[in-house]
Amino acid sequence: MKVRSIDDLRSLKEKYYPLIKQRLGHRNGLGLTQVMVCSGTACTSSESREVHRKLEQELARCNLSSSVRVIRTGCFGFCQHGPIMMIHPGEILYCRVRPEDVREVVQHHLINGQLVDSLLYREINTGKKASSLENIHFFKAQERIVLQNCGVINPESIEEYIARDGYFSLADLILNKQPREIIEIINKSGLRGRGGAGFPAGKKWEMAAAQDVKPKYVVCNADEGDPGAFMDRSILEGDPHSVLEAMSIAAYCIGASQGYIYVRAEYPIAVERLENAINQAREVGLLGKGLFDTSFDFDIGLRFGAGAFVCGEETALLHSVMGQRGEPRPRPPYPAQEGLWGRPTLINNVETYANIPVIFRGGWEWYQGHGTATSKGTKVFSLAGKINNTGLIEVPMGTSLRTIIFDIGGGIAGGRQFKAVQTGGPSGGCIPEKYLDLPIDYESLKEIGSIMGSGGMIVMSEDNCMVDLARFYLEFTQDESCGRCTPCRVGTKRMLEIIKRITEGQGEMEDLELLEELAFDVRDASLCGLGQTAPNPVISTLRYFKDEYIAHVRDKVCPAGVCKELLTYQVDAEKCIACGLCAKACAVGAISGAPKQPYHINPEKCIKCASCVAKCPKKAILKGVGREVASSAQAGIFAGAGSQENRPAL
């Protein structure tokens, strides 16, 4: 059917709401059981599709197909424990559900009505089992506004989105409000761009609306390139219609009739969901000509990023949307003045758009009740690194890092010490422990040398080397530089060369000064945001962890035991049983010894390949300054993976 009025939306909502109601913890009286299977990228990669398929099979086998419905849903954010399955009624959450567990779930839970104990989540610190979201700390401490539909609705169903009041705001605004009233509401809500710099969204809309040129364009920046950030992807995968609705509202406000979503080709599921959502919206008349029987036309096309971080910068993105090299250009003119094909273009990122329907549904007064004085609403973060609960979270602006890392994130993995948290991806900085209690918003993060960025949050423990980390980010931005302006093209290269010298033990004390000077010049002189922020990891680590740099340069030591060139391997004489396996394993003949004598590693010959470490039955080979290898297997390395120690297994 075609949706032509609010009444049409209402009748659709009525039809589908009972299903949703049950998922929100109410009885629906349908006598139906709903099994939600996460179909986000993370869970899909851990075979959630197979779980879904097996489940359908098993239900058919047990003649349960009519009373149990399996629904694919978006990301719950609990990615580390995927694949996630949730069963309603009861809101029972199962973690790490393998295809082979499906039979048990059907037998025990669906037929016998018992919990499947082995699939329940256990709190890491207490070991306590929890069966529903309310009992899991990870979820309890969050406030999911933007992500409210993720994990609740089927992202491939426009009806379920409508049942969650979707498209009602759009209808109301188009039918009853003038563009400037709408922009006024956004201004009052205090919404700021979630893509990085936090420019007030309303101001941007105003500027684009004020241009007296047609056509105009609306663009959604879904080129989430920060390593470690995946909130935009999760929104697109879990709630694509919210972005479409917001873009339609934006188009109505500024007077555009064509929109583009610029999405990374590396996000196949997000692309699929978007294509599906656009088609559905077109089918029911929520995209296309004459929305709600008004004269307002709007359609959306997809454009693909093909692997260039710099395309997150808005002018670079515009070039890429037009099929060109994604190189930025100087501003002014701003995209809102001269954007796609020289026309006024409004660009916002996915999360910013996802906030728009929420603001109109809840009202600006309610919305700006969240957050701090200057930063309103919530922020979605992706937690990664040395933290127990990696995944996607949403908290009000102003939440402290401590709450995020130790409450929601469950603290540092393996009981190690917290060292720093990196926010804002390669454009951000490292924040040391002393700022853990700082309420974070755009301003506070900037003040301490980092940025909000798109919301990536990588937690570092004592096993991470901050110099190596700065090098890693610099390597990334240097490689992703578009090559247009001098400071970014050559400057980041020279910075990288200096920092590499330092991590390889070739650094001089003057290098530190040189590095800092150049970092500031690159920051000040670069053409676009990428170059201007590329030195941030270096500047912030120099600011808070200078002692680590000095250790690398003066003492030629990597305190965290990460920088390979600065390591030495030694045999622990006490533990050595002189079995000689290490000497046999050594390819360069650096290990010598005699029966019943502790073996010895010649540091001149040693190439630090760690083959000996893997072969030693007594874990007697030590790394660095007397730290045990077993423990520093955590250092920059995931112990179970293809680490040096495990290599002989291949």
Binding site: S46, G228, Q324, A384, G385, Q422, G642
Partner: protein, 194 residues
């Protein structure tokens, strides 16, 4: 992907290597190539109506040919009217485009922060040693190409290995070994079919 394309044999290394092959085979290669160019022309026709779809066309072309040889780039330039220098500029700008032939199995190690912190470099080193190729290289039997990729967003599963776009999380030594074996096995079955 378009239905016509799915029928295309997914043969990645043929097409432009003619030296040292039997004349008969070369003919097959030529016919196959012609088919691929026909498929490409359809793509170009479909997408060039809209402005700015060069990247989409190149992505599709890469699906067809496995990579973007110079001839394909030139062909796209000629058909779309975009100068060949610009086409080449776009191809060399984006990291998803490959201008060299690639192996039948593409192994990509995610070098995103989370993966890096959890040992992606070690994973890469292991693969390099095992396959005896460098990063970006293709094994002499054209079976594997080893690459790095930017963050695929599966940070909760770090370190991540992408084998033919399939995400393998928490890639440990044994897991990687199995993946490689699976790819090899797949190849054997396939070659029997031929």
């Amino acid at each position: 992907m378009e239905p016509e394309l799915e029928k295309m044999p997914d043969n990645l290394e043929d097409g432009f290597v003619t030296g040292g092959q039997e004349p008969q085979i070369r003919k097959v290669v030529a016919v196959e190539n012609e088919k691929k160019f026909q498929a490409l022309d359809q793509i170009i026709e479909q997408y060039s109506q809209e402005p700015g779809q060069l990247i989409k066309i190149l992505l599709k072309a890469q699906d067809i040919f496995g990579y973007l040889p110079e001839e394909v780039q030139a062909h796209i330039a000629l058909k779309t009217g975009v100068p060949v220098s610009e086409v080449n500029g776009v191809v060399t700008f984006y990291s998803l485009f490959a201008t060299r032939p690639r192996g039948r199995n593409i192994l990509k190690v995610c070098m995103g922060t989370a993966c890096y912190v959890k040992g992606a470099q070690e994973l890469m080193d292991t693969l390099k040693e095992h396959l005896k190729i460098d990063e970006g290289g293709t094994t002499s039997d054209q079976l594997f190409t080893l690459e790095t990729t930017r963050c695929v967003g599966a940070c909760g599963l770090a370190p991540v290995l992408l084998a033919n776009e399939q995400v393998h999380g928490e890639a440990g030594a044994a897991g990687v070994y199995k993946i490689i074996q699976d790819c090899r096995k797949g190849e054997k079955i396939e070659s029997k079919k031929h």
